[in-house]
Amino acid sequence: MAARGRVRHFGCDAVRGGKRSAIQRWSGLLGTHGDAIWHYRRSRLGMVTAAVALTFVVGAVFAPWLTPFAAAGRGVPDLSNRLRPPGAIHWLGTDELGRDVLARLLFGARASLVVAVGVVALSVLVGVVVGALSGYFGRWIDEVLMRITDAFLAFPPLLLAVLVAASLGASLRNTVIAISVSWWPWYARQVRAQVLSLRTRPFIQAAQAIGAPSRRTIAVHIVPNVMAPVWVQATADIGAVVLTAAGLSFVGLGPRPPTADWGVMIADGRHYVLSGQWWIAGFAGLAVVVVAMAFNLIGDVMRDVADPRTRGQLR
């Protein structure tokens, strides 16, 4: 199984003329990933954290069907039920407007998932393109792109996100843009470093020697071979983005009320913590911690899986 991955690194298909079909290419990818999945499943930690992540995703996607208080999840108040502690009806209590906290958490997971996936997808897209172009072409293109990247990296990520979000206004879409602005440079740097080591490999030189255009070389031979660490990073980043998005919402730069959002729940709920109504901010904070930690650990396990030196030590 692992040999197939190595075959790709030597670029046999390119040597053979680079005439692989899309199906062949994807099956190759799947083969590599299938290998990784097989190793991943051996890790108990990996399976537990994957279960948490799956719960998060399922909860987000099926939120309206998972709670009898879907209206509360959408923000409809019930003032007769304000600040009820956790109990038989409202398992996690109610908030300051009488809305079921569990329903708010489930609907808040939707916002978190949208932001996390949006940010990671956008950042990977921009980062991979910039990193690949920069690493492959080098010279002045590398200089220009990397200086731009450095400029973005010069700002503390959260500060830059706050700046952008404050400029664009508070909304879910703007949250995605704001975080992505500070996120993509890391992928660009990572991909560029990978490409620099790849471009002198014989299979790349062979592709160039037979006259493959740069666009094809990058798309077919470079990018697929740099994506494994990118996926590992992207998975770990899901949790980090959830954390950052909650931070932005906490300072009022997330989606507008009454959209359910974990950061907003913490911000609003913390007013009541000192007076004993801990469950609003408490459960929302717990949700952020658990999801961020789960994806972070998944990323760790995936990194171990990808590294032959640590693959045998998976727990």
Binding site: L79, R82, E96, L97, A170, P257, P258, D268, V273
Partner: protein, 591 residues
């Protein structure tokens, strides 16, 4: 809790005022007759002079020979008159817990949620009065008000004052022995120049001095005011803004000088330092005319604490001694905590949403007024302590309109109005203060109701300064609903009605951009009657408020209860609705 405080209010007030310097007390009623009884009938001028020291047009009021306290020494005050609304509420909690970290008890920390933006006593017009009221002084101070037509005024820098029969000529005799912080003696010229500075700048609360036509120093203790129309000048001189007396050495300085941390008033505290982003520090003025006694507050730190959670934490730990603006649900738990007194006093704070008359048709405005969940908000979010507004003038203030016909929440009627107007599936922008959780909660509750009739209420949180600037700059493109509080500049309906609804060429606080000639005429005329014919003024003010309701100029939400938390180590705090959020540090004593 507040009931208990009210019960012991009388006794505690005696204690609280022990250290208060001798003030001249007087009271005014509807027609200026000086009768303190609210039941005086219209046209009864001169029939009753219940207060021996009451100001009477044509009469003179002098300080009693032995006046230990303003509230105690009023021989003419009706002893058992129960005001319609308790005028002030004092802290009376016993058994407080000493906190060893508090030190000698002469340092007081005020956790202030609002930025102190402008310390120029002539132009400040926001939350700065919490500082200015302690650093500068005014000629008079309102100490009591029964919500109808009678208010009780005490002399601060004025020892006595008189007015002619039609309240167009006023003479104030100044207190002796008063010096400014720079050592200069108080003179009538200083009073004149200070008021002139406000009038000349024309900023902030300058409009309240509009009646003044001429000021003249009669002698070294007396100043005479000639007014262009009758006005209750003694009441105006008790305002929160624009009437502070400034040292002759400082009165020529510009705004930047004052905002650089300089000041020269006659108040019990001198301004030591001022950093709007951190704190404003005060230190006692040793030569204050009222003198000092042991246990009084010597230094004050008015610390910017925008985060209500931090404010809670500070006051719970005795790292701050006073705060307000906490979520209402929190006060009950604070009240249960030993060492913190919660004071929920009568309020003259009105909360309302100004409807943009340039963007919204009358039908949409009416629909919005009908859709607002008045009872839900007052009963739930404020724990039943708030009362629904009847117009913009708070019900604790004279000139309010208890019979004003206000609509009940009726979503069906609102929906019909919108359908008839062909306005379906519309979006309404609700602009509110970011961080003021009640305004957000009100918006969320209202949004849910409006959603059922196809209206999307878009909640737009911004800092007040940001949304105020936006609303002033672009009336046509700004918000649809501008939510704001108003507390009295001075205790008159004219302040509320003029500031928020009088026609403005350039928007300032009229952020619904309301303009109605009849309304303007009515309130301007009512203002001229305020000094001589209070009942006549009330009638006109009420008609003006009816126009606001008929024109759907705003959603008048509620009279906000004035809730505050103060450490019980200090006694003497009096919550006076006329001076919202003001702590008179001089009146505090460590237990």
């Amino acid at each position: 809790m507040s009931e208990i405080k009210r019960l012991v209010f009388g006794g505690l007030l005696c204690v609280a005022t022990v250290a208060v310097p001798p003030l001249t007390a007087c009271s005014r009623d509807a027609d200026g007759s000086g009768a303190a009884n609210a039941a005086v009938e219209p046209g009864a001028a001169g029939q009753e002079t219940a207060a021996e020291f009451a100001p009477e047009p044509g009469g003179e009021f002098e300080e009693p020979a032995d006046s230990g306290s303003a509230q105690e020494d009023q021989p003419g005050e009706p002893p058992a008159a129960e005001p319609a609304v308790a005028p002030t509420t004092a802290v009376a909690s016993e058994g407080s817990r000493e906190n060893p970290r508090d030190g000698p008890g002469e340092h007081f920390v005020y956790a202030n949620p609002h930025v102190i933006g402008d310390l120029d006593p002539s132009s400040a017009f926001s939350s700065e009065h919490i500082v200015l009221q302690n650093v500068y002084e005014t000629l008079t101070r309102l100490t009591d008000h029964d919500g109808t037509t009678t208010e009780q005024l005490s002399g601060v820098l004025a020892e006595s004052w008189t007015a002619n029969d039609d309240a167009t000529v006023w003479t104030f005799t100044l207190r002796e022995g008063v010096t400014f912080h720079d050592g200069t003696a108080l003179t009538p010229q200083a009073v004149r120049d200070s008021l002139h500075r406000t009038i000349d700048l024309g900023l902030g609360a300058a409009f309240i001095l509009a009646p003044i036509e001429f000021m003249e120093a009669v002698d070294d203790r007396t100043i005479r005011f000639d007014l262009s129309y009758p006005a209750p000048l003694d009441l105006i001189m008790s305002a929160n803004f624009g009437v502070y007396v400034i040292s002759p050495n400082a009165v020529t300085q510009d705004n930047a000088w004052f905002n650089a941390g300089n000041a020269a008033g006659t108040g019990p505290y001198m301004l030591e330092s001022h950093d709007p982003a951190v704190s404003t520090r005060l230190v006692r003025y040793d030569d204050y005319w009222g003198g000092w006694s042991e246990g009084q507050v010597a230094t004050v730190d008015i610390r910017l604490t925008e985060d209500p959670v931090l404010a809670q934490q500070l006051i719970r730990n005795s790292d701050a001694h006073y705060t307000f603006n906490l979520p209402f649900d929190v006060y009950d738990s604070l009240a249960d905590r030993s060492g913190v007194d919660v004071v929920i006093g009568p309020s003259m704070i009105s909360l309302f949403g100004l409807l943009n008359t340039r963007r919204l048709s009358p039908e949409v405005r009416e629909a919005l007024v009908l859709s607002f969940p008045y009872d839900e908000i007052t009963a739930s979010l404020y724990g039943g302590r708030a009362v629904r507004s009847r117009g913009i003038v708070p019900q604790a203030m004279w000139g309010s309109h208890p019979e004003l016909e206000i609509p009940r929440t009726d979503l069906e009627a609102a929906s019909r109005l919108l359908d008839d107007a062909g306005m379906t599936d519309i979006s309404i922008i609700y602009s509110y203060d970011a961080g003021t959780i009640e305004q957000q909660q009100i918006g969320e509750v209202w949004k849910a109701g409006l959603a059922t009739i196809g209206v999307d209420l878009v909640l737009e949180p911004l800092t007040f300064d940001a949304r105020w600037a936006k609303a002033k700059a672009d009336p046509d493109g700004a918000q649809d609903v501008f939510v704001m509080f108003w507390f009295p500049t001075f205790v008159s309906p004219y302040d509320f009605l003029y500031s928020v609804f009088h026609t403005e060429e350039e928007p300032f606080f009229n952020l619904g951009y309301f303009s109605n000639g009849e309304f303007d005429t009515l309130i301007d005329e009512a203002d001229t009657l305020s000094g001589t014919d209070r009942y006549g003024a009330i009638e006109l003010f009420r008609r003006a408020q009816e126009i606001l309701v008929d024109e759907h100029a705003g959603v008048f939400m509620l009279d906000v209860p004035q809730a505050q938390a103060i450490r019980s180590e200090f006694r003497g705090f009096v919550s006076n609705p006329a001076y919202s959020q003001v702590v008179r540090f001089y009146e505090l004593h460590r237990r």
